[in-house]
Amino acid sequence: MTKKSFRQAINEALRQEMQRDPRVILMGEDVAGGRGGTSGVKDAWGGVLGVTKGLLTEFGEDRVLDTPISEASYIGAAAGAAATGLRPVAELMFVDFVGCCLDQIMNQAAKFRYMFGGKARTPLVIRAMYGAGFNAAAQHSQALYPLFTHIPGLKVVVPSSPYEAKGLLIEAIRDDDPVIFLENKVMYDDEEDVPDDPYTIPFGEANLTREGDDVTIVAFGRMVNFANQAADRLEKDGISCTVIDPRTTSPLDAATILDCVNETGRLVIVDESSPRCNMATDVAALVAEEAFDALKAPIRRVTPPHTPVPFATVLEKLYVPDVEKIEAAVRSVAAYRVKEEA
């Protein structure tokens, strides 16, 4: 057990799986970097933010493949390779670039198995960075996991910490279905204790980062940390929260969410993605259908507004959900009394 950053945890998961299984290969733009360069230095980048650094050196050019800038072809190639015997981990760099290759994800990889009557396996992992907070503006800051979650045939992982990232990525690589693995770019330097040995965290099993009696908070990815901070503050005022990290949006651990809401009767959902048709609406709808009787207050959603992500720091700060907004939402549902009771 050593302190590792989110970046290191992901790198270690990749390395250990590549050591374990020769069919695991990496591909993407500058996942190594330096090919065709004049210095002769290999592994010049190891990914645009250094996440895959060192893997070329250990596994060589046959297993760490730099690609031209052509997402449709190499994400499709990853799908094709997955269907024919390899276990590719393809890096899309920014998830925003899915606009250049959605067909290969949505209509090819995700649908093979169903269209082909169960006769295909597509053990593909697509890693990508998501999220605002980097002043990367509208085309490099989206969350977009709702898009993937909407598509049957995909699994979608949104890890909330280095420990989670390592275990979930190893699980993703060993999984036989196409998995979208999303890394919040603001979290790469976050550190925590992470076991050195490989381990897996199963999909569809939520993690309760804390348990409380008054309000259930469901949060995704980076928002889990904000939710926990909000819960810390609220605790001091006697409002005790359960915080649920679903880990995967597809499959979603509906049972755990419903159990918790049945206990607390109050729910706040924190989702960094655009507010329409997102995970906050998805969880709210689930609960409004299946835990209706338990609900003692409106279901509150803390999300960005329905706008593209702005560039300027002041605006971006307003845009992303934060601890204050979560706190306020929890207070409002905690204080809520239905008319009959009032």
Partner: protein
């Protein structure tokens, strides 16, 4: 012509099977019993068969919306295909894919594809698998003249060259994408595109099995030897509309009649092999009869086959979920 007798008979049988399969589908579609979109390969048989004659089950192909011919050429059985097209549970995809999604990965058939340009990226990946797993196999993407304008196709040409994978890109140029002529929609030409993406260009007459067979052999050999990808440009023609139901008003009135009369790959084949004394007319007649029976049986069986069950709806979305 240095082609083994069994390749000749197998190839003829394959072409005849495609022809009869498609002609029969044309008839059956008109009855209204076949659901969905059906795109016929009739007239293009020599291409799929001439290429696949060089492939084994280890090699991979990816096909298009016009996929029946490639499937048959790669060895997918007509019973399972016919049942699939009829939406039956005994279909090769259990009735869940239909005409546009027939696949059989155990035969290296990575699927027909409803998305134009869907296949070439997949073939880059299949070729990468072959290269990485060192199984000596090649991967072949079939796609149309129309698909040759899709970004995914063009990117794939570049990617395959950069990775130097054993891929062959077969442009089946029937001169139309739906109702639009290639002379309008394809600017420039395939040959310069091949050069523009750094791969050798081969060209052949898709109405002539032997032209395809020979040229495809060279292109595939190039790839199989580890020299990187190649492009094979096949000139051919489709005999029916874009899909069943298309009145083909965009084609000259006698265009298809002429093709049938003068450019029938089966007639060409027979003339050549019999002329050269490689096979007898009777050899081919025997095949014709056998295929006729096979197709008849496939239709009868498909029509009688049980439908999917309700529980199938939720099956096979994931391996596990």
């Amino acid at each position: 012509m240095q082609i083994a007798r069994d390749i000749l008979t197998r190839s003829y049988r394959s072409m005849r099977t495609i022809r009869d399969f498609e002609e029969r589908l044309h008839v059956e579609f008109a009855t209204g019993d076949i659901p969905g979109f059906v795109h016929l390969y009739c007239g293009e048989e020599a291409s799929g068969v001439g290429v696949c004659a060089h492939l084994t089950d280890t090699d991979t192909i990816a096909s298009t919306h016009r996929g029946h011919g490639h499937c048959i050429a790669k060895g997918v059985g007509v019973d399972g295909m016919m049942a699939e097209i009829y939406g039956r549970r005994s279909g090769v995809c259990r009735g869940k894919g239909g005409s546009m999604h027939i696949a059989d990965l155990s035969l290296g058939m990575l699927g027909a594809n409803g998305i134009v340009g869907g296949g070439p990226p997949l073939i880059c990946g299949a070729a990468l698998s072959h290269k990485t797993l060192k199984d000596g196999a090649v991967a072949v993407a079939f796609y149309g003249d129309g698909a040759s304008n899709e970004g995914s196709t063009l990117e794939s040409l570049n990617l395959a060259s950069v990775w130097k994978v054993p891929a062959v890109f077969v442009v089946e140029d029937n001169g139309y994408g739906e109702a639009t002529g290639a002379s309008y929609a394809v600017a420039g030409n395939q040959k310069d595109r091949a050069a523009g993406f750094g791969m050798p260009y081969f060209e052949c007459d898709g109405n002539d099995f032997f032209s395809v067979y020979e040229t495809a052999g060279e292109a595939i050999e190039h790839a199989r030897k580890g020299n990187g990808p190649a492009m094979l440009h096949v000139h051919l023609a489709r005999w029916y509309g874009h899909f069943e139901g298309d009145a083909m008003t965009y084609r000259a009135a006698d265009e298809v009649a002429k093709l049938r009369a003068e450019h029938d790959c089966l007639v060409n084949f027979r003339r050549k092999v019999v002329g050269a004394g490689l096979l007898e007319d009777s050899d081919l007649d025997t095949i014709d009869t056998a295929v006729k029976d096979e197709i008849e049986a496939a239709v009868v069986a498909a029509r009688k086959a049980p439908l999917p069950e309700d529980a199938d709806l939720m099956k096979d979305v994931y391996v596990s979920y």
